[in-house]
């Protein structure tokens, strides 16, 4: 096939990019070369729209061992131990083929962790779907959960957390973001940086097929009406082979026979080979005839662009090949030497005795031109109606009853019980509560892990929303008693070429940047997923809410001091640590019950947030609390209900707030920030109040835990027996429709 500008455009490249390629090569590219450039210069691999913004995020901190740029970030947790973690999206594949899309998302993020030399210890999944009132969305959710379950369970890494939000902005383009956390000793962490010209390059894992060709490009387009036709762009996962390559990779790294290792993820062999060479400032030559293939007569173009799963590329130290062979053979994997490193800084690909590509490594790996983008504040931001006291409200009892039956607030048990969240026997706080907590055997330490998002806030006010998502993730760690350490982020947005979308992106980053700085949780990596839009048959384009998903890890030095969110004792005092409000702007109350998007996004003061979080951590260490739960969506009311239901006891609460309350519904459902709902033993109350006063942290007495299974506020009574069954069954009943 003759390469022309038209062919380049079909590959998703722009005219300018094609001109740049010709000038780099000083000739017309071969089709294989064009394919290589098109995937490496896609948004997914090159971050060409997002690089300048990402560069503004804080990436440094005392504990950061590895910031952005490697397969995953890493932080020091003391005693020579480290956490390695990352989050990644698999949105488009999951929208088309939910089971395999989600399964391979899990597979990919696992590989990012173990190629760093860390053993994966936890998986989390942040899911954003449309409302579950239609069969298509239910089918997608069931498929995604099943895919995650299938893959994670088989590999033996517990899925300990995540979230599900259901809002119609995600109907055509659901979000599936998978996070993995790994554990390593500092000296075990290995880089993807190649070194030593002449060192052999090995391929192991599954053979290469025609699946997933152009997956990276597919991830960088909006989803059109033809999305069903994109099915061949989705890969198929094989968790059994993943388990073998994981064990083999960790053993290879521990043996010291490797120089570097990289998985073949997005853009397959192309990306792994060129990035490894680029990081070491070297060249690489590979022979495609040596690449194991499961389809007949594959062209060089297909082999280079295949995204077949569970494939690894490793540079072995010359002279240690026998060690590599022995380990791979043990794990029933075939070592295939497919090439070697060179010092000519060229990426050379041979196939059937011909050179089919010869490209300067740097230009293909890092040379994607940054796209010109412009930002424009969308009109909706100004015209969005805001909450005022004229908005009619239901009684708090009726409101709670309806909210709890909505999948957004109902128990996620139907999801997490399909995941093995206990394997590896470290899960101290299980899914279904705030952050999950894992103890680290052979140490007193424990780590909290969480994913948090709120696309709706980010839509109403991207900057404030960006601050809130980071603060909320930190709050979840703090509620478990863990010091927030660092962030990995998955930035899900619409088409960045639309100035209004780019404005959302820019503002969200602005908010995240401030929060990460003030809360001292640097960003160690992540992933950008753009073009999350759907185009209807009539040509109407709808973007998702701007949705940054924050993955956070926190550290608890002494596992014995871990804290949970559920009430422990009758008669304990229930307090709000934070400032109450009666503003329902941005609340799920208005969104779900009144069916209206009404701002403003809740206010957040990051200094106040930091002060409150530090107070809570200190007070947990002093054992002042029986329980600590962060207040987030659904406000005080949802936090209170969860603290009651999660206790597993037939308890209730008597509310007698010591602040003035004009409207109980507004007070209970306002989504206040920088707040925690805590319960305090009567013998600790005095101490707690003094300490809060000293720390200048606002505290409101809300009431007490009672043995009567009802929430009572003077004459208002809500019985909990029915609430419990609504809460437990709502999601399962909805999905089973």
């Amino acid at each position: 096939m003759q390469v022309t500008e038209e062919v380049a455009l079909e590959h998703g490249l722009t005219k300018n990019e094609y001109a740049a390629i010709k000038s780099i090569l000083n000739r017309t590219p071969t089709l294989t070369e064009l394919g290589i450039f098109s995937v490496m210069w896609s948004e997914h691999c090159s971050y060409k729209h997002s690089r300048p913004l990402l560069a503004t995020l804080p990436v440094e901190g005392e504990r950061v061992l590895q910031g952005p740029g490697e397969n995953a970030g890493a932080v020091d947790i003391g005693e020579g131990l480290a956490l390695v973690f990352k989050i990644e999206s698999h949105n488009h594949p999951s929208a088309v083929e939910p089971f395999e899309g989600a399964a391979t998302g899990v597979g990919g993020i696992l590989r990012d962790i173990f190629t760093m030399g860390a053993r994966p210890i936890a998986l989390l999944d942040s899911l954003s779907f449309g409302e579950l009132d239609n069969p298509r969305t239910r089918y997608l959710l069931k498929g995604v959960v099943n895919g995650i379950s299938h893959y994670g369970n088989c590999v033996g890494v517990p899925t300990v957390g995540g979230e599900l939000q259901t809002m119609n902005k995600y109907k055509g383009n659901p979000l599936v973001n998978a996070m993995c956390v790994g554990f390593a000793r500092h000296e075990e962490i290995i880089s993807a940086r190649a070194s030593g010209p002449g060192n052999p390059v090995y391929y192991f894992g599954n053979p290469t097929g025609r699946d997933g060709i152009h997956g990276a490009t597919f991830a960088s387009e909006e989803l059109g009406e033809d999305k069903e036709e994109k099915r061949p762009s989705v890969q198929v996962g094989d968790p059994f082979t993943e388990k073998l390559i994981m064990e083999a990779s960790l053993e290879l790294i521990a043996s010291g026979c490797l120089v570097s290792i990289q998985d073949m993820g997005a853009a397959g062999l192309t990306c792994s080979a060129s990035e490894m060479a680029e990081k070491g400032g070297l060249g690489i030559t590979i022979d495609l005839d040596k690449v194991p293939q499961r389809a007949k007569n594959m062209t060089s173009y297909e082999i280079m662009l295949s995204e077949s799963q569970e494939r690894m590329l490793a540079v072995c130290q010359a002279g240690k090949e026998d060690v590599l062979h022995r380990i791979l053979k043990k794990w029933e994997l075939e070592p295939c030497k497919i090439g070697y490193l060179t010092d000519d800084k060229l990426f050379r690909v041979n196939h059937k005795s011909q050179e089919v590509a010869c490209i300067p490594v740097h230009d293909v790996a890092e040379g994607a031109p940054v796209c010109e983008v412009s930002a424009e504040k969308p009109a909706y931001v100004q015209t969005m109606p805001t909450y005022n006291e004229g908005v009619s409200l239901e009684s708090w009892q009726d409101a709670l009853q309806r909210l709890v039956a909505h999948p957004h607030f109902a128990s996620k048990r139907w999801i997490y019980e399909q995941y093995d969240y206990m394997v590896q026997t470290n899960t101290v706080v299980r899914p279904g509560q705030d952050a999950a907590l894992l103890r680290l055997k052979d140490s007193d330490k424990a780590v909290s892990v969480t994913t948090d998002t709120n696309g709706y806030y980010c839509y109403l006010d991207p900057e404030k929303g960006g601050k809130i998502v980071v603060a909320q993730a930190a709050r979840n760690c703090v509620a478990a008693g863990a010091q927030p350490l660092a962030v990995t982020n998955c930035l899900n947005f619409g088409n960045p070429e639309n100035p209004e979308i780019y404005w959302q992106f820019q503002e969200v980053i602005k908010g995240m940047r401030q929060a990460c700085q003030i809360l001292e949780t640097p960003v160690t990596g992540g992933n950008v997923s753009l073009y999350n839009e759907t185009r209807s048959a009539e040509g109407k384009v709808e973007a998702i809410y701007p949705t940054p998903v924050i993955g956070m890890v926190g550290l608890l030095e002494n596992v014995a001091r871990y804290m949970t969110a559920f009430f422990k004792k009758e008669n304990d005092g229930i307090y709000l640590v934070g400032k109450p409000s009666e503003n329902l702007g941005g609340s799920q109350y208005l969104k779900i019950l009144n069916g209206e998007e009404r701002g403003p996004c809740p206010e957040i003061d990051l200094q106040e947030e930091r002060k409150t979080q530090q107070f809570i951590l200190r007070a947990i260490r002093k054992e002042l609390f029986s329980s600590v739960h962060d207040v987030s969506e659904g406000g005080i009311m949802i936090a209170l209900l969860e603290s009651l239901l999660w206790s597993g006891k037939e308890w209730g609460a008597l509310l007698q707030p010591d602040c003035s309350v004009k409207n109980r519904t507004a007070f209970l459902f306002s989504e206040i920030q920088s707040s925690f709902l805590v319960s305090v033993g009567r013998d600790k109350e005095k101490d707690f109040l003094e300490q809060a006063d000293q720390a200048q942290v606002p505290v409101v007495y809300l009431g007490k835990v009672t043995e009567k299974p009802a929430i009572c506020w003077e004459d208002d009574i809500l019985h909990l027996a029915e609430m419990r069954s609504l809460y437990e069954k709502a999601l399962e009943n909805t999905v089973a429709q």
Partner: protein, 229 residues
């Protein structure tokens, strides 16, 4: 007291069993790779949970052809204690060391949660230290744990006292509601006629310390330790 845990490709509870047996139950533990040709001298063999060979073909169907399984079968036939947990139980069925078969859970979903199981009697090396009448709080995590046996087999294992564990409520009542996966007669674990081979779906190694919600799994390991002493 020595235990050997056998790792198959795809086993993923081998390290959990190792930790529980070594740190919590006091065994000396060795991991052996399934391709090893000879079994180390040992007092106990454990076939751990996981997805040996990715559950391809049928759960446990391929693992039974592993070279070391021949040795394990010989060890069992000579009366050596063999404990198969979850996928290990499935391998024991496929190897013919235990009767019956597994179907998918009646919910047609993977189930991961704590359940209660009750020891049927205390005359076994696996149950002797379990308090009489106690229901043990132990997790399950499986997709194919719905035990099935034909009428004649079922009659035989029931009459011979080969059913060692049944799913129950927290008070030890064996009810339909307490059956998480549809297993016939609420069967959670069975042994062979001689009583030395036990297969069970629940994971005792996941209930061995206070950070794991329950320590009830220790009672089973203690029974073994004391009986084999």
């Amino acid at each position: 007291m020595k235990a050997v845990i056998i790792t198959f490709p795809g086993s993923n509870c081998d390290q959990d069993c190792l930790w529980a047996l070594r740190e919590k139950a006091g065994f000396d533990v060795a991991l052996q790779w399934h391709r090893d040709s000879s079994l180390e001298k040992t007092d106990l063999v454990v076939l751990p949970g996981g997805f040996s060979y990715g559950d391809y073909l049928r759960t446990g169907a391929l693992a039974r052809f592993s070279p070391l399984m021949k040795e394990v079968i010989r060890f069992a036939q000579k009366g050596g204690p063999v404990l198969g947990i979850c996928n290990g139980f499935q391998i024991l069925l496929e190897s013919g060391l235990l009767p019956g078969a597994f179907l998918k859970n009646t919910t047609l979903r993977f189930i991961c949660r704590n359940v209660f199981i009750k020891a049927e009697h205390h005359d076994s090396i696996y149950t002797s230290a379990i308090s009489k009448g106690a229901a043990l709080d132990i997790p399950i995590a499986h997709y194919e744990g719905n035990y099935y046996a034909d009428t004649a087999t079922l009659k035989k294992i029931e009459e011979e006292g080969q059913v060692l564990f049944r799913y129950s409520d927290k008070d030890g009542n064996v009810t339909e509601k307490a059956n998480p996966n549809g297993s016939v007669n609420n069967i959670a674990g069975i042994c062979n006629e001689q009583g030395n081979v036990l297969g069970m779906m629940p994971h005792p190694e996941r209930a061995v310390d206070t950070y794991l919600h329950s320590c009830d799994g220790l009672a089973l390991f203690k029974s073994l330790y004391q009986s084999l002493k």
